[in-house]
Symmetry: C2
Subunit: 729 residues, 2 copies
C-alpha cells in the first residue's frame, strides 16, 4: 500500500491505530487552536497561521507591524471529494530557513538571492474523510508565498476542484490597478480606482477585446493585482509556478475589501483535476512601503523550480526586428497572400489570386535581413509566411494553419541561405488561431521544419476562441499546453515567445527557452485606439511581475496619419519614451518594432536601440510609482555598460537619476536621449535631444520628461579622447 511519500510524519493509514494516533497528536501538541508564527528574515513581515473554532485554516500577514492581509480563510472545495475548508486538526508543523543564491540563464540580474523562512503545516480531517492537506508558507523579505499540498494518501487519490477559496482580506479601500476578470484574455486597458469603485467602473473597463470571456458570475479582477493602501503600503497579489492548474483570478468583495481566488473553469465547469501527490501553484503577496521594492522583487522567480534542462547553452536573449508593424499601420501590406476569403489547408494556394499586398515576400524579408545585419540585430520575425491567413480569424476553425507550407512568394530555403550569409536568424511565427489541438497534432513536424530550415526561435499566437472548444486560454488544459510547447521546443533547441497565452508566473526560470510572452495590451494596440500614457507605468507592477513581456517597443513614427492611409491614430508616447522602454520594460527578447525606413530617419536616436543590452548583470530600480513613473538602471551582462530608462505618465516630470551603482572613482560617458523642451506625446513626440556628458558614481542627473515622455541613457567607458570636452555632472 502507498505511504505518503513526502510526509514528514508517518501517519498509519488504518482505523483504530490511526484514530488513536491522531488523538495522541492532538493531546501532545494541542496545536489545533494555537497560532503558528513565522517572520521574514529581516523581521519586517510576520505570517500567522491558525485553525479557527471550526477547524478552518486561516492566516494573517503584517508588514512592520501593520496588517497587510487580515485573518483570511484557506482551503478549497472539490466536486467529488468534499471540502478542504474546515474540520481540520494540525498534526504537524515544521519550520525551515533557506538562504542561498542561484544564477538565472538570463535575467535582470546575474545572481538571485533566495532567502526565506518556511512554515509547513500538516492538517488532517478525521473520518469520514480521514485525509491530509498541507499548507506551505514561505516568507521572504519582499513578501509571502503559500500553496496547498496534497500528499499521497490512502483516502485521497484523484479529485476535481470545484473552487479554491483562498482569501485575501485587505485592510482598507486601497487604490488598485486592475483589468476585469476574464478567462480568455489579458489584453484590457488598466483602470485605476479605489476597490469600492470597481463595481461602477467594471462595465466600461470590460471593453471589447477579441475572444474575450469576461467573468459574469462574480465581480472579479485579474492578477497580478497591484494595490496601494492609504498609508502607503504597496501590495501585489499574483501566483507563481502555474503548472497543471487553472489560472487564478480574484473575486472582489468591494464592501469588505476582501478578495478571493476564482479559478478558470474548463469546458464542463470544473476547475482543476488533481492526483496526489499534488500541489497548487504558489499564491504570492509581494509587500513593501517602497514601490521600487515591488519591481525589484524576485519572490515569484524564487518560488519556481530550477530549470530541468541540462544544456542551456543554446538559449540566448534576442534583439530583433520584424515584418510586422507595417501590417498594422502602413497600409501597404498584409499577412494574407490571396484575396480569397474562404480557404482550407489542402487547397492549392498557388492558385489563389494574389492581392499584391502580401508582406512576407522573399524580397521584402531580404530588406529586413539586410537592415538587421547592418544594425546588429539577431533576428527578423516574419509573420504571414505560411498559408492560411486569408480567413484565419474568428471562425472557431480547427485546422487553419499547418506551420510548414509557405506562400508561393516566400522562399524558405533561399531566405535561410541569405540570412545565414548575413549572420541573422529568421524568426518563425506559429499562429495557432487558438486551435491547440491542431497545433499539438502538428508540433513535431513544425519544429522539425524549423530545425531543417535554420530557425531557432518561434513566436506563437493564440488569437481566438480555444479549441478544444469550451476550454479557455487560462484553464488547466491550456496551461499545460503552453508548457508542453515550451518543453517540446527545448527538445529541438528552440526558443519560444508566446502571445495570447496565459499570463506568466515565473515559469521562465524552469523553462528558460520560454523567453517572453505577450499576455497584455502591447504596442499593437497603439495602432488600434492607442494605449494610455500611464499604461507602461502600470505594466511593470502588474503583468510583468510574472515575467518578461514581448511589448515590442521602438515606434519612432508615432503619428500614424503620416502614412496617409486616412488613419488619425497615434502612439501615445514621445519618441524618447519608446527608447526608455528597452530598459523599463524588461525582456530578454526585445523588438525594434518600427519599420527600417523610420529608423533611418532618426539615426542618432536609433543608436540607443542598437546599443542597448538585452541581458543584465544588475538592475537598480531608481524611482517608481505605479501609474505615474518608472526609472530603472541596468548593467549589461558581462560588460561595463549601463543603460538607464525612465518613463512618465501624461504628466511631465523631472526624473532624479543617480549613478551610485557605477564603479567608484571612474568617469564614464553618458549619452542622454531626452525629450526636447517642446516635446509632448500628443503634439510634438519627435522632439528630442542627444547629448553626451561624463558621469561617475557620485553623479546625479535631474532630467525633465515630457508628457508621456521618457529618458534613455547609455553609460560606457570612453577613451580620454572621447571624454575630452564633455561636461561632468
Amino acid at each position: 500500500m502507498n505511504t505518503p511519500r513526502t510526509a514528514s510524519l508517518a501517519v498509519p493509514n488504518y482505523g483504530f491505530l490511526r484514530r488513536l494516533f491522531l488523538l495522541l497528536l492532538l493531546f501532545v501538541f494541542s496545536l489545533g487552536l494555537r497560532a503558528q508564527v513565522i517572520t521574514s528574515p529581516d523581521k519586517n513581515l510576520t505570517l500567522t497561521f491558525k485553525l479557527d473554532d471550526n477547524g478552518a485554516p486561516v492566516y494573517q500577514l503584517s508588514y512592520k507591524k501593520k496588517p497587510v492581509i487580515k485573518t483570511s480563510r484557506l482551503g478549497l472545495e472539490t466536486k467529488d471529494a468534499g471540502s478542504f475548508m474546515e474540520d481540520f486538526t494540525v498534526v504537524d508543523t515544521k519550520q525551515t530557513s533557506v538562504d542561498d543564491t542561484w544564477n538565472p540563464v538570463w535575467g535582470e540580474q546575474k545572481t538571485i538571492r533566495n532567502n526565506y523562512n518556511e512554515l509547513l503545516v500538516t492538517l488532517a480531517q478525521e473520518e469520514p474523510n480521514d485525509r491530509l492537506m498541507r499548507v506551505r508558507f514561505r516568507l521572504f523579505n519582499d513578501g509571502l508565498g503559500f500553496r496547498y499540498e496534497f500528499p499521497k494518501q490512502e483516502n485521497l487519490k484523484y479529485f476535481i476542484v470545484k473552487e479554491e477559496n483562498t482569501e485575501f482580506n485587505l485592510t482598507g479601500n486601497h487604490k488598485i490597478f486592475w483589468i476585469p476578470g476574464d478567462y480568455d484574455t489579458n489584453e484590457y486597458a488598466y483602470t485605476t480606482s479605489k476597490i469600492s469603485e470597481i463595481p461602477q467602473l467594471i462595465e466600461k473597463a470590460t471593453h471589447d477585446v477579441h475572444a474575450q470571456q469576461p467573468i459574469k458570475t462574480s465581480l472579479a479582477v485579474q492578477t497580478p493585482s497591484m494595490m496601494k493602501s492609504d498609508d502607503g503600503l504597496y501590495i501585489n497579489i499574483h501566483e507563481a509556478a502555474l503548472v497543471n492548474y487553472p489560472a487564478m483570478q480574484l473575486n472582489v468583495d468591494e464592501k469588505n475589501f476582501k478578495m478571493s481566488a476564482h479559478l478558470t473553469p474548463d469546458a464542463v465547469g470544473n476547475k482543476g483535476y488533481l492526483q496526489t501527490d499534488a500541489h497548487t501553484p504558489w499564491r504570492t503577496v509581494v509587500v513593501s512601503d517602497k514601490a521600487t521594492d515591488i519591481l525589484a522583487s524576485k519572490l515569484i522567480l524564487n518560488l519556481n523550480e530550477p530549470t530541468a534542462y541540462e544544456d542551456v547553452s543554446w538559449i540566448k536573449p534576442i534583439k530583433y526586428i520584424g515584418v510586422w508593424w507595417e501590417y498594422f499601420v502602413a497600409g501597404k501590406s498584409t499577412w494574407a497572400y490571396g484575396t480569397e476569403t474562404n480557404v482550407k489547408l489542402g487547397d492549392d494556394f498557388n492558385k489563389l489570386t494574389p492581392s499584391g499586398r502580401h508582406g512576407a515576400t522573399t524580397e521584402n524579408v531580404k530588406k529586413y535581413i539586410d537592415f538587421a545585419a547592418e544594425n546588429g540585430f539577431d533576428a527578423v520575425l516574419v509573420e504571414g509566411w505560411n498559408v492560411g491567413w486569408e480567413d484565419w480569424f474568428g471562425n472557431w476553425k480547427e485546422e487553419v494553419f499547418d506551420f510548414v507550407t509557405p506562400y508561393p512568394d516566400f522562399n524558405v530555403k533561399e531566405l535561410q541561405r541569405y540570412a545565414a550569409e548575413k549572420g541573422v536568424k529568421v524568426m518563425m511565427h506559429h499562429e495557432t488561431s487558438g486551435s491547440a489541438t491542431n497545433y499539438e497534432r502538428r508540433l513535431d513536424e513544425a519544429f522539425q521544419f524549423m530545425k531543417d530550415n535554420g530557425y531557432n526561435a518561434v513566436k506563437t499566437g493564440y488569437v481566438g476562441k480555444i479549441i478544444p472548444r469550451g476550454e479557455h486560454h487560462d484553464g488547466q488544459s491550456m496551461v499545460n499546453h503552453y508548457i508542453h510547447v515550451a518543453k517540446e521546443a527545448a527538445d529541438y533547441q528552440i526558443m519560444v515567445n508566446s502571445h495570447e497565452a496565459v499570463r506568466p508566473t515565473g515559469l521562465h526560470r524552469t523553462y528558460p527557452n520560454w523567453l517572453a510572452q505577450e499576455s497584455a495590451r502591447g504596442t499593437e494596440f497603439e495602432s488600434m485606439g492607442g494605449l494610455a500614457p500611464d499604461h507602461t507605468t502600470i505594466l511593470p507592477f502588474t503583468r510583468m511581475m510574472g515575467g518578461p513581456m514581448d511589448y515590442t517597443p521602438g515606434i519612432f513614427q508615432t503619428d500614424l496619419s503620416y502614412y496617409g492611409t486616412g488613419s488619425n491614430q497615434r502612439v501615445n508616447t514621445t519618441l524618447v519614451k519608446q527608447l526608455a522602454y528597452y530598459v523599463t520594460m524588461y525582456s530578454p527578447l526585445q523588438m525594434a518594432a518600427d519599420m527600417p525606413e523610420n529608423y533611418k530617419r532618426f539615426p542618432d536616436a536609433f543608436q540607443f536601440i542598437k546599443d542597448v543590452a538585452v541581458d543584465w548583470d544588475e538592475t537598480h530600480i531608481l524611482e517608481a510609482e505605479p501609474g505615474d513613473y518608472v526609472t530603472i538602471a541596468r548593467k549589461a551582462k558581462n560588460k561595463n555598460e549601463w543603460y538607464v530608462g525612465g518613463v512618465s505618465d501624461e504628466n511631465p516630470r523631472t526624473a532624479t537619476i543617480n549613478f551610485d551603482y557605477l564603479p567608484k572613482g571612474k568617469n564614464y560617458i553618458a549619452t542622454i536621449y531626452a525629450d526636447g523642451k517642446d516635446a509632448s506625446y500628443d503634439k510634438n513626440p519627435q522632439s528630442y535631444t542627444v547629448r553626451k556628458v561624463l558621469v561617475n558614481s557620485k553623479s546625479q542627473l535631474k532630467q525633465r520628461l515630457a508628457s508621456s515622455g521618457g529618458v534613455a541613457i547609455s553609460v560606457k567607458e570612453g577613451t580620454k579622447e572621447e571624454m575630452k570636452g564633455l561636461k561632468k555632472i
Copy 2:
C-alpha cells in the same frame, strides 16, 4: 471573389442580376413544386423529391410500389447562419447514372458493383439569405443514400450546425432492433420491440455501461437501426462516410412512427462546424423484402470514397490470439504490474510492488507466440505491456499512458527477436483511457516505437470519458481524431483495430488499414453477465452494417465456473456457434480469443479456426432473419476453399445449406462441425461432432443447430484417397 467551385450552374453572386436570374430560373423550370423522381437500376425503388408549399425540401421512398419512407422533411438548422429548412426554390436538377465495379483491398468479396441512379438538386434561398444548398440522392438496387452539400458561395463560408432535421417518416409500427441513443457508447444489449414500445422499454434498455451518456433530451435510438415492417419489408437506417461531422442518432416519435436525425453535440452543445465547400455524411436506407439482401448490401461501402493510399501492399488481414481472455475469466492475471492504486507517468515503475499476477510478462507472451507459430496465427495481441494500468480507469485523467514504456517484466526487444524468429507479429495495444489529447500528443513517438520494434498493427482503446473534456466518443472532434489516427498509422504502415470508437460507416474503404472496430457489445461481455443468444443474429443487421467488428470469437470453455474463481458466468453459446462466428461475423481481423490451453483440449474443433480464411473472394448470404438466425457461405481469397457458418438464437433450428456456389461438376470434402444431439448453450455447450462428407454444387444440407447453437463447415478440394469412403450429400 470566389465563385462556387463545384457549381454545375453558374449563379451570379450579386444583387439585381442574381434576382433576375433566379426569377428566370423559376419561370423556365417551374420546378419549385414539381416532383423529381428517380428509380433504382432494377426499378424496385423509387425516390421522389419535391419542395412543399413553404419551399421545404421533402422526399419519399418506395420499394416495389410500397412506401418505405413517407413524405419526410430534409434540412438543418444552424446556430449562426439561420435555417436550411424552407424558403427554397429549385434552381437546378441533374440526373446521372453510374454502373461500375471496384476491388476492395480486402473484404467479403473480390469485386463490388457500384450501380446507382443519382439526382442532384440545387436549392436556393433568396435574400436576405441568398445562398445555395444541394441534396444529392443515390438510388441503388439495395437502397438509398443522400447527403447535403454546401458549395462555396459568397454568403456562406462558415457555419455551426444546431441540428440536422432529416426525417425518416416510417409507414407503420415496425419491429425494431435497437439500443438506446447515447453519445459515448454503443456497448448496449439489443432490445427487440415494436417502435411504439420503445418508451416503456428505454429505461431498462439503458442499463449501466462505463462512461455512458444516454440521450436525455429526446427519445432516441442508435444507428444502424434495423427494422421490419408487418408486411415483411426490411429497412436499415444508418450513415456512410462519417467524416468531419458528428455521428447521427435517431429521435423516435413512437406515435407517428417518425424518426429524425439527432447529432452528437460537442463540449459547448454545438453539432458540427462546417466550412464550404462542405457536405454531410450520407444518410442511408437499405431496403429489401429479403433479409439476406440487407446483409449482402454494399451500399455503405459504395458511398465511401476510394482509398487515397497509393501503396496498400502492406495491408493484410490478420488472424490472431492474445494475452487477453485470461484477464477476464481465469482469475490468474491482470493488466497491471503493481499493487499500487495511485501511479503517474514519470514514476519509477521498477519500484512498484509486483502483484505477481501481471499477464504481459516476457515468459507468458512467449508461450502465446509459441502457440501462434505452431497453429498458423499471424499475431499475438498483448494488453497490459506498458506502464500505467494500476489506476488507468475512471479518473478522467489526461496522462495515463505514454505508449512507449514497458513494464519491468516485459522485454520488448527480446520479444521482438523471439516473435520474428517464429514468424509471428506481436500486436501493439494503445489504450488511451479516453484521453485523445494525450494520445495525439504522443502519437508520432508511439508509432515510431512500433516501427522500431517490429509491430505492424495496433489495437486502440477509448475506455472512459473523453478528453478534451466535454467532448463525446461520437462527436465531430473525436470522429476526426479516429480518422487522424488511421491516417497517421498509414504513414507508418500500421494497421488499426479501434475499440470504443464511434461505430463504423464504411470508412475502411477509404482507410483500409483501419481493419476493424469494436463499437458494440463484444465477447468480453460474455464474462460480465453474458450476451443474449440472439445477440449475434442481430449484430450483422445493425452494428456490422457499417464495417467489420473485432468481435473476438472462439471461446471454447464457455462455462466460466470451470476456472474455480467463484464465477458462475457463462458464455451463452455452444462451442460450435463460436466456430460459426468466423464466418457469420465478418472481419479481416479475427481473434481466437480463448486461451491456448483450451484449444489444446479440443484439437478437432480448433482445426476449423486454424483453417478458416480471413479474406474472401465471394460471400453468399444463405439464410437470415434478424434476431433469429444467420447462415453465410464464403469463398476464401484466391483459394478453392469455402467456409460456411450458421448461428441460431435461443431456439434450436434446422439450417438449410446449399452449395450452389461451388464450381459445377466437382466434388469437395466438407468438414462439418455441428452441435451434438444433446447440445445446448446452457446445459451442454461442448457437445459437438466433426464429420466429413462429399459435397458438390447440387448438394443441400439440412443441419440441426442447438439452442444458441451453430454449424461450421469447411469445404476443400481433396485427393481421391482423401475422398474415399466419404458419404456424398
